[in-house]
């Protein structure tokens, strides 16, 4: 059993690989013969000595769904309540029902379910959606009665083959930054390096603005007795 993992497990990055080590001592007293003994900062380390299903979780950024079917600002539909149930339709389509008739989604929307016992995840609506029923493909849901507080949120739907009508999967500020980047690349192609520099500065400026928009921090400094007021 793995316990105290935050204190006893370490990783080392080697190119595209991640190497895992476990502290020898603490909750682990056995040694893994094949691994030998490793030493770092006066500690002895060894290779992982147990199987853990889905034990390693890596959080990272990626080029994830760059284009979507509709603007990010318009994917605002959301429903939450304790009146939502999941119906396993057998050979027919599965459905989500809401006795409070609070759904405001349309056919083809992509939704994210949170708070259910066994149906959390992302789904695409198929068939006619109305205020009381949402339809998804057969074999999607495990039957679940109402009772849990469940939230269903509309999320952007990816476009696999983007064209001119596809939307950039970014908010308005970052989309404007993308325009600056495109302008910079265009200037670079034309050999206008001063313009390229200008637009790249604009690009990074907008990235900074976007970051500060979500991290509002107010700072105050005492003014010196000689400060001009």
């Amino acid at each position: 059993m793995s316990v105290n993992v935050s204190r006893e497990w370490y990783y080392f990055l080697r190119g595209r690989e991640i190497l895992l080590y476990k502290l020898l001592g603490g909750s682990s007293t056995e040694r893994v013969t094949q691994s030998g003994v490793f030493s770092t900062r006066s500690h002895e380390l060894m290779y992982p000595n147990e199987d853990i299903e889905d034990g390693l979780r890596v959080e990272y950024t990626a080029l994830n769904e760059p284009f979507v079917t509709e603007a990010l600002e318009s994917t605002t539909s959301k429903t939450s309540g304790i009146t939502i149930a999941f119906v396993d339709g057998g050979v027919s389509s599965d459905t989500i029902t809401d006795t409070a008739s609070g759904f405001n989604f349309t056919d083809g929307d992509k939704i994210r379910v949170q708070g259910s016992t066994s149906n959390d995840g992302d789904y695409t609506l198929s068939g006619t959606a109305n205020t009381g029923t949402l339809t998804v493909a057969t074999g999607t849901f495990t039957a679940e009665t109402a009772g849990e507080r469940i939230t269903i949120t509309q999320i952007p739907k990816e476009v696999a083959s983007p064209d001119e009508t596809s939307h950039i999967n970014l908010n308005k500020m970052l989309s404007l930054a993308v325009v600056d980047y495109v302008k910079a690349m265009k200037a670079d192609r034309n050999g206008e390096l001063d313009k390229k520099e200008y637009y790249m500065k604009e690009f990074y400026s907008k990235l900074g603005d976007n970051e500060s928009n979500i991290r509002k921090i107010s700072m105050s400094f005492p003014s010196s007795p000689f400060a001009v007021r």
Binding site: V32, E50, T61, A71, L170
Partner: protein, 96 residues
């Protein structure tokens, strides 16, 4: 914002090139900031061989945010620390 709108704002006519540059821009954004985070999970295996502690990072990764291990005592993922230097191999452990 649509691809077409971005093209018009940048006065660009080639759609394929515009899409490629937009992808480059998003790549740059994901490299500099944490706009959209993704996660992946792998099984940890009991080491029986000298390279059994080696796991491959996701192929689509742009920048690494954190690494965590599942604590089986409470089934929670907990962040682990990074070693700045690879541990030195000292001796063959012949009598574990």
């Amino acid at each position: 914002m649509t691809v077409l709108e971005a093209m018009e704002r940048a006065n660009l006519k080639e759609t394929t090139l515009a899409i490629a540059w937009i992808k480059d821009a998003i790549h740059q954004i994901q490299s500099s900031t944490k706009e959209k985070i993704k996660s992946s999970k792998q099984d940890i295996i009991k080491s029986v061989d000298s390279d059994d502690n080696v796991y491959i990072l996701p192929a689509d990764m742009i920048s690494l945010n954190n690494v965590s291990i599942k604590d089986t005592s409470d089934s929670k993922y907990k962040k682990i620390r990074r070693l700045t230097h690879q541990p030195e191999y000292l001796i063959e452990d012949s009598s574990p």
